[in-house]
Amino acid sequence: MTLWLMAGLLFTPLAWAVLTLLLDFSKGRVVTWLGILVQVLVSLGLWAAVASDGEFLYLLGGWQAPMGIELRVDGLAVTFVLLTALVAAACGWHASIYLDPDKPWNRYFWPLFWFLWAGLNAVWLGGDLFNVYVGLELISLAAVGLVALGGQADALRAAIRYLMAALLGSLAYLLGVALIYGQFGTLSLAGVTDLVSNGGAQSNLTFPLILMLLGLALKTALFPMHGWLPPAHGIAKSPVSALLSALVVKASFYIAARLWLDLGGDLGGYALAQLIGVLGSLAVIWGSWLAFRQAKLKQVVAYSSVAQIGYLFLLFPLTWGVTDAISQQAQQGITLQVVSHALAKAAMFLAAGNLIMSVGSNRVDALAGVSRFLPFSLFSFGLAGVSLMGLPPTGGFAAKWLLLQASLASGQWWWLGVLLAGGLLSAAYVFRVYRASFIEATDTDQFYHPSRSLEVIPMILALLSLGLGLVAEPVLSVMSLPFEGAGS
C-alpha cells in the first residue's frame, strides 16, 4: 500500500506538469483540480500510514545507498508533504480563479506550479545530498519562472535577481556536497552521518558544512542576505507570492536543519550556532521594522516573511550542545513555526491579493474604506496576523511557547527578548494595515468585488493556522516519531 502511495506521490505532480503543459489555461485548470484532489488524498494517506506504521526507506530503482538514491519517509517528512499538499491546493485553487485565462502566458502557470510541487516533495523526502540539490534546483527554477511569468520588465528584474541569489546559494551548497563526497565517497546523508559520528576526520569538514549552510541560508533569505526576497515576493502574482513565502523558502531551511541536526553536533560549534541565532534575531527585528515602514501592501507581507524566517534559525543555537529533551522541544517549536507560518503567510498573501484586486492599488494608503466592502478578506488577513504575532490559541503561539521554554531550559535567556520583541513588532505592522483600512474619509467608492471562492480560501488557511495551536499535540506526535532506520 505504502509503495503505491509513494509512486502516486512522486508521479502525480510530474505527470500533471506534462499534461498541463500541453493544455491551455482553462483546460489545465480543470485537470489541475483533479490532480490536486489526487495529491491531497495521497499525502493524507501517506501521513496516516506513517502515523500508524512508522517510517520507512524507499529505494528508487531498487538500488540501495550508496549506489542508488533512498528516500527517507519519516514523520517530519510526511508532515511537510501534507502541509505542502494543503497550501499548494489552496494556492492552486485560488490561482485558478484569480489568474486571467485570456493572457497567453498564464497557461504556463500550471506546468510550473506542478514542477514546483514535485520539487518540494523531492526535498522533504530526500535522503541523498545530491538528490536534494536537484530538488532545490527544480524548486528555484520553477519559482523564478513563476515570478517572471509574462515577462514584464519589473517582474523580470526581480526574477533575475532572485535567480542569481538562488544559483549562488545552490553552487555554494553543491561545492560543500562535492567536498563531503570527496571525503567519504558517499552522498547518502544517513551514511555520512554514520561516518562522521564514528569519528571520521572532522576538523576539515567544518568548512564544507559552513559552505552548505551559507548557501542554504542565502536561499532562505536569512539576514543580511534577504535583499532578493521582498522584490520577488512582492512583484509576483498573489498565489505565486503565497507559494513562495509559505513553501519555497522553507525547503532550503529544511535541508539546512536536517544537515545541522545530523552533522552539526560533531562538525558545528558553539560560536557558529550562536552566530546563526544572532543573524536570525536580527532578521526578526530588522525585517519587522522594514515591514512596518513599507508603503506597498505586498511588500509589508514580504518583509514580514523575512522576519518570520528569522525565528526558524533559532533552531541552530537551541539544538547545539543541549540535552535531547531540550533539543526535541526546540525542534517541535520550529516545526510548528514552519507549519503555522506557512498557513498564515499563504492566507495573508491571498487575502492581500483580494484586497489589492478590490481597490486596484498595491499601496497601503489606498486601502482606506475597504473594511466596509471587503470585511471577509480583511478579517482573514487579520486572523493570519494574529498567528504571526503569536497570540494564543494560534499555532504561532504554541511555537513561540515551545521556543521560549527551550531557551530558558538551555540557559540561553537572551533569545527571550527576540521572541517578545518580534511579536510586538508584528502586531505593529498588522495594525498599521488595519488602521489604513478603517479610515472612512475617502472619495473613492469604486470597489471591485472578487468572487466568493477567492475570499473563502484565505479564510480556510487562516482558520487552520489559528486552530493549529489547539491540535498541536497530534501534529507534533507524528512529526517527532524517531527514525529508527537511520544509519542502517
Binding site: 509512486a7 550508496p66 536537484v134 527544480l138 514584464q152
Partner: protein
Amino acid sequence: MMRFFSVTVLAAACLAFAGALMVTVWHISGTQAPVDLPGLLVENLEASGVEHPITAVLLNFRSYDTLLEIGVLVIAGIAGISMAKTTSLEDPLLRTSDSLLYALQRWFVPLMLVLAGYLLWAGSDRPGGAFQAGAVLAASGVLMRLGGTPMEFLRPGVLLRLGLALGFSVFLLVAVASALAGDAFLAYPKAFNKPLILVIETVLTFSIAMVLLALFVSAPVNDAVEPEERERG
C-alpha cells in the same frame, strides 16, 4: 573611503574562501574515502544493462536524479517560451546574410547530425549520451536558424510543447510503469534494461535539443504592459 573599505572586505572574504577551500581540498585528497563507490559501481555494472559506468549511473543507479534534472531543463524551456513574443520567426533582425555562414552550414549541419547520432550511440560503452548528443543537435539547429532555414515547429505552439515534454514524459512513463509492475519507482525489469535505456536516451536527446533551441529562439522579451495586480479590475 567607503568604497575602499568594501573592496578590502570583499578581497579579504575571497582570499579567506580560497584559502579555506585549498586547505580542505588538501586534507581530503590526503585521506582515503571510507566508501569505495567506483568499486561498487564496477561490481554492479553487469546488472545495469549498459557497459559505460557514467551512463549506468545516470540512467539506472541514479535515474531519479536524471529524471528530475530533465524536469529542470523542461522548466527552463517553459520559462523561456513564456516570455517569448515570437509572433513571427521571420524577423529580419534575426537573419544574417553571410555567405560564409551558408557555405559552412552546408558542410556542418549534416556532419553535426551524424555526430549527434554517434554520440547518442556511443553512450552505451564510452563517454557520450543524451546530454552531449542533444547539445550538438541543438547547435546544428542554431546554425540552421541563423541561416534562415524555416523551422515552423519552434513557434510556441503545441508542437514545440510536445517536443519539450516528449523525453520527460517517456522517462516518466517508464518510471511509473516499473513501479506498477515491479517493486519501486524507476526499477526497470532486468530483461528490458538495455532497450529501455536506449529508448529513454533517444527521446531525451531530442527533447534536450528542443529545450536548448527553444531558449535560443525565444530570447526576446514581452513588452506588453499589464497593470499591477489588476487583471479584472
